[in-house]
């Protein structure tokens, strides 16, 4: 019968699984992509999936990208759903980005500074011309010259904001008016409450969708909550991650993380109690994530508007708006849930509109026939 066709079913789902598997593999005349290839050659995609998936594991991120046919939000979702099942053994000590093994470090506010500017493996000054030689595979293994003595002098690479901070020109970064910096919140364990403190805000931004943050950050540059930013420093490199097991009493090194850190230096007029100082916007992202780290730093600073006595007028300054809409796993789920069946609700809307139309055209006959059935629940409820 006709009505059967509109219902889903077990068979349909099984068939969809099978079709998806075939579609994902594609033309079997072409060798299958290995996870190792993705991990090694699609590094920026792996980085983005790790950042938005909130899990630092290059191999699993590469697997997720393969499984999701390169749909990076879908891949981040796979990683998140895996992450949530993992036990928590320990919390790490705060990572020390000042002692990062630098691969890239640029500052837009000083021409030169101790440690110098290190461009690293950046697309910045490439001309965006399609390299047709890559169509036929990479001919020779490309090699880069080693870092010069000055660039490899890692110990000289102080963070630029620390240099400014020494002069009292930049607000200290341990200023935390609302909570203890030693005990950061975790929005994956506790729901966000408002006003959300900066620790939770930064966590939300670090997990947030790159595109959403890019758009918001851009909006602050175009006048919707301007912050007058300068890129104080962007640094990319590996940091050591340490934990301090309670039974040991000292910290041990458990591995390295590749991180991108961006510190924006923003204007601030000061007040009667606080002398004029530059203020900070902070961005920190897993892997090579410069675009996201910069956007995050812009949005972080915009979200501090209220704390710094500025008017909250723009979307990027509205903590509730930004935090509730930055997560792409939440957003994609809810936007895409619209494709689930809604015919029960739509049916009640249909009857509602038909009833209202009948009332509007004042057709007593139609109005009468559109009343609920005589023994319906509605009548007895209304009579109560």
């Amino acid at each position: 019968m006709a009505y059967v066709a509109v219902k889903g079913g077990e068979q349909a789902i099984d068939n969809a699984y099978a079709w998806l598997a075939e579609d994902r593999r594609g033309d079997t005349a072409i060798p299958a992509l290995s996870v190792a290839q993705i991990e090694a050659q699609l590094g920026r995609a792996v980085d983005r999936v790790m950042a938005e998936g909130s899990l630092y594991d290059r191999e699993l991120a590469a697997l997720a990208i393969k499984q999701a046919q390169g749909d990076l939000i879908e891949a981040a979702f796979l990683l998140r759903a895996y992450r949530t099942t993992l036990p928590r053994f320990a919390h790490s000590a705060p990572v020390e980005t000042a002692s990062m093994q630098i691969e890239r470090r640029v500052s837009a506010i000083f021409k030169d500074l101790p440690g110098g500017q290190v461009l690293g493996p950046t697309y910045d000054y490439t001309h965006r011309l399609l390299d047709f030689s890559l169509l036929h595979g990479d001919a020779a293994a490309p090699t880069a010259p080693a870092l010069s003595g000055r660039e490899s002098n890692q110990s000289a690479m102080r963070r630029v904001p620390d240099i400014l901070g020494n002069e009292g020109l930049l607000e200290p970064d341990d200023r935390d008016p609302s909570g203890s910096p030693c005990d950061p919140g975790d929005l994956t364990r506790e729901p966000i409450t408002f006003p959300a403190d900066r620790d939770v805000r930064l966590q939300a931004l670090a997990r947030g969708d790159e595109g959403f943050l890019l758009g918001l950050g851009y909006s602050t540059q175009r006048g919707y909550g301007g912050t007058h930013p300068f890129a104080g420093e962007i640094r990319v490199g590996e940091v050591v991650i340490e934990i301090e097991p309670a039974e040991l009493g000292f910290s041990i090194d458990i591995g390295e993380l590749m991180l991108t850190e961006c510190q924006m230096v923003n204007q601030f007029a000061g007040s009667k109690t606080v002398p004029p100082q530059f203020t900070r916007g902070y961005g920190l992202v897993f892997g090579f994530g410069e675009r996201k780290a910069m956007a995050m730093a812009l949005v972080d600073r915009a979200l501090r508007a209220e704390e710094l006595g500025e008017d909250v007028t723009a979307p990027a300054q509205n903590i509730e708006f930004v935090l509730y809409h930055s997560d792409n796993i939440e957003a994609t789920g809810f936007v895409e849930h619209l494709k689930l069946p809604h015919y029960v609700d739509f049916q009640s809307e249909l009857q509602n509109v038909r009833r209202m139309q009948a009332a509007a055209t004042n057709d007593p006959l139609t109005t009468a026939t559109l009343e609920p059935p005589p023994d319906g629940t509605a009548q007895s409820e209304a009579a109560e």
């Binding site: 019968m1 009505y3 994956t188 689930l340 015919y343 059935p373």
Partner: protein, 288 residues
């Protein structure tokens, strides 16, 4: 399922959710924030309901999952499979047989009993969200029981359309205190929530909220004395089982206006047909 705890979530998480549920039962209709976990199903597809079901499910429970009133809609199938796989509990399509019923958008036609629990999937737990998007503001309004905004909305509906235009997710007052979203069930189902013998639990995963209506609690759909609450249903009997008291789906049968109205509650409909009740469409099919 290998590598996963019974019903997917670890016991600590289930305990955290049950603590939230106890608070929710103690304050009927009040939204309790909880540490909603990321689930292997997408947000907006029942993650709240799944977490509630996972945390209350025992090995001897019998689970029924419906979406749009039907057991065989794709998302209901998917969620039922999830629990078959991760909890291995017995599942059923029969309302009478189930001890836990997870639902999206409907309440079964058959009255529920004291030994049953109904778990609603909730997309937007805040009934005021369409009028005031800020959760900071709506929490304050709930605290003060300041629901004037909603009454004004209903009044404006009447002045513009001559009637209240909300046809689903129709706001209710629970225990004469909290304005509550019944989830997007049709207003037709609202009266079933009032003084229901079964425990009603609500889970909103994306919005990270739980709430509950304990058994035998007053649930009143908002209305005015001169504009009493009226449920909406299609003015037809079910084409398959002839029921005149069940909520109906409208099926488009051809492209020149043909319609078939059938029970949205598939279990209710098949049970009636098994008992010999036949609608006009079923009689026509039998005659052919």
């Amino acid at each position: 399922m290998k590598g996963y705890n019974f019903a997917y979530l670890d016991e600590q998480t289930k305990r955290m959710i049950r603590r939230g549920l106890l608070k929710a039962v103690a304050i009927p209709g009040h939204q309790v924030p909880f540490g909603s976990r990321e689930m292997p199903l997408p947000y907006g597809w029942g993650t709240g309901g799944i977490q509630v079901t996972a945390s209350i499910l025992g090995t001897d429970d019998v689970l029924k999952v419906i979406d749009q009133g039907a057991d065989d809609t794709t998302n209901a199938v998917s969620i039922r499979r999830f629990f078959s796989l991760t909890a291995g509990v017995r599942t059923t399509t029969e309302t009478v047989e189930a001890t836990v019923i997870q639902t999206r958008h409907r309440i079964p036609e058959k009255p529920l009993r004291e030994d049953q629990i109904i778990v609603y999937q909730v997309p937007t737990p805040e009934p005021l969200s369409k009028l005031e998007p800020s959760k900071v503001e709506t929490r304050r309004m709930h605290g003060l029981a300041d629901y004037g905004l909603m009454h004004v909305k209903l009044y404006e509906d009447i002045s513009r359309f001559g009637q209240i235009s909300i046809s689903y997710d129709y706001p209710v007052m629970v225990n004469e205190r909290y304005l509550t979203s019944p989830s997007p069930i049709p207003a037709f189902d609202n009266p079933k929530m009032d003084m229901m013998p079964a425990l009603q639990l609500f889970g909103a995963g994306r919005e990270k909220r739980l709430y509950a209506i304990p058994p035998w609690t007053r649930v009143k759909s908002l209305d005015f004395e001169d504009h009493p609450f009226r449920a909406i249903n299609a003015p037809h009997p079910c084409g398959l089982c002839g029921a005149t008291d069940s909520y109906l789906d409208e099926i488009v049968t051809d492209d020149h206006g043909g319609r078939l109205f059938v029970c949205s509650d598939t279990d209710h409909c098949s049970e009636r047909r098994a008992a010999g009740h036949l609608g006009t469409e079923a009689l026509r099919d039998a005659a052919e």
